[in-house]
């Protein structure tokens, strides 16, 4: 049996190897199609993710800006009152006004802040998707 096994192994080793005959070219075309499909899928995913991020940012913008403005405003009033009570009573009203207006300005700037943050997050997600 072992003699036959050796004969069999030799027969396998000596078996005919098929010529290429365009096979490699055909595989190359298949791989190219696969790559094109992969790139297209990646681009669609990136676009979709970007769109999702922008949509979420826009949807979250209004409630978030109102909430943060209110929060900053009340924090500013509190700070101004504290400042006023520490210093002379006559200055308190002015300080309160300055604090409120400064923090309201900051609150109004939230539009830009949120848009920039959204763009940064969207860009990071798109970059990560492209890397994958």
């Amino acid at each position: 049996m072992s003699e036959f096994n050796a004969l069999l192994t030799r027969a396998f080793a000596e078996a005919e190897i098929p010529a290429d005959g365009g096979f490699s070219l055909s595989v190359g075309r298949g791989v190219a199609r696969r790559e094109n499909a992969r790139r297209l899928r990646g681009a669609v995913q990136t676009f979709g993710l970007g769109l999702a991020v922008v949509t979420i940012a826009l949807a979250a913008f209004n409630p978030a800006s109102l909430l943060i403005q209110e929060w900053l405003g009340s924090a500013g009033i509190g700070a101004a009152r504290a400042y006023g009570s520490i210093n002379a009573g006559g200055l308190a009203a002015d300080a309160e006004g300055v604090g409120v207006s400064a923090l309201n300005s900051l609150g109004l700037g939230l539009t830009q802040i949120l848009l920039i943050a959204g763009a940064l997050v969207g860009g990071a997600v798109a970059y990560r998707a492209a890397q994958d």
Binding site: L8, F12, A15, P18, A19, G28, V31, E35
Partner: protein, 186 residues
């Protein structure tokens, strides 16, 4: 990176081609296919009982699958075994779709048409491909991996996922069948 450096693909080492292909260089992978296609198609043709068209389709599928999974290959030195596993898995998946394999594990798998096609070889020349067509799918797979690829029984278990006892049984039974076929032909 490695991909751009391979100006002369035909002279590049296989390891360099594999590294370049891992960097998504299609030309390097094409050269790798050129070098490996003969071995791959011969292996699959034996497994497919000489059905060259089916074997070539499976070989193409195996190469495309290898392209997709090249990132998973840890070292170029492991390419042969890694790609053989992909080729065998591709074959097994196709056969499972056809539900043609593993159904015969417990049967006695008698020789198909044992007396219907007397071998024409006058001498001791082995018409291996024809003889292999007379084994069952699972026997052919195990005998090809054992004698053709030099894999041990446990390595065949690893590649095919079949139980060890089944692999041993298929190898022994398939080898014995081949011996009888080829002795009859001699």
């Amino acid at each position: 990176m490695a991909a751009r450096g391979l100006l002369n693909l035909a002279q590049a080492s296989e390891a360099a081609l594999i590294l370049a292909a891992q960097a998504r260089d299609q030309a390097a992978f094409g050269e790798l296919v050129k070098r490996r296609q003969g071995w791959t198609r011969a292996l699959l043709r034996r497994m497919c009982a000489g059905n060259h068209a089916e074997a070539d389709d499976l070989a193409q599928e195996a190469f495309v699958r290898a392209w997709d999974k090249l990132k998973d290959l840890e070292t170029p030195a492991a390419f042969s075994g890694w790609f053989r596993r992909i080729a065998v898995t591709t074959f097994l998946m196709a056969k499972r779709k056809q539900r043609a394999i593993f159904e015969e594990i417990d049967d006695s798998s008698p020789l198909a048409d044992e007396n219907s096609t007397p071998e024409s070889a006058a001498g001791a020349k082995i018409d291996l491909e024809r003889a292999l067509t007379r084994l069952s799918e699972a026997e052919r797979l195990c005998v090809t991996l054992n004698h053709g690829e030099g894999l041990s029984h446990s390595e065949i278990v690893d590649v095919t996922g079949l139980p060890l006892g089944t692999v041993k049984s298929h190898v022994n039974r398939g080898t014995e069948k081949l011996r009888r076929i080829l002795e009859a032909a001699a």
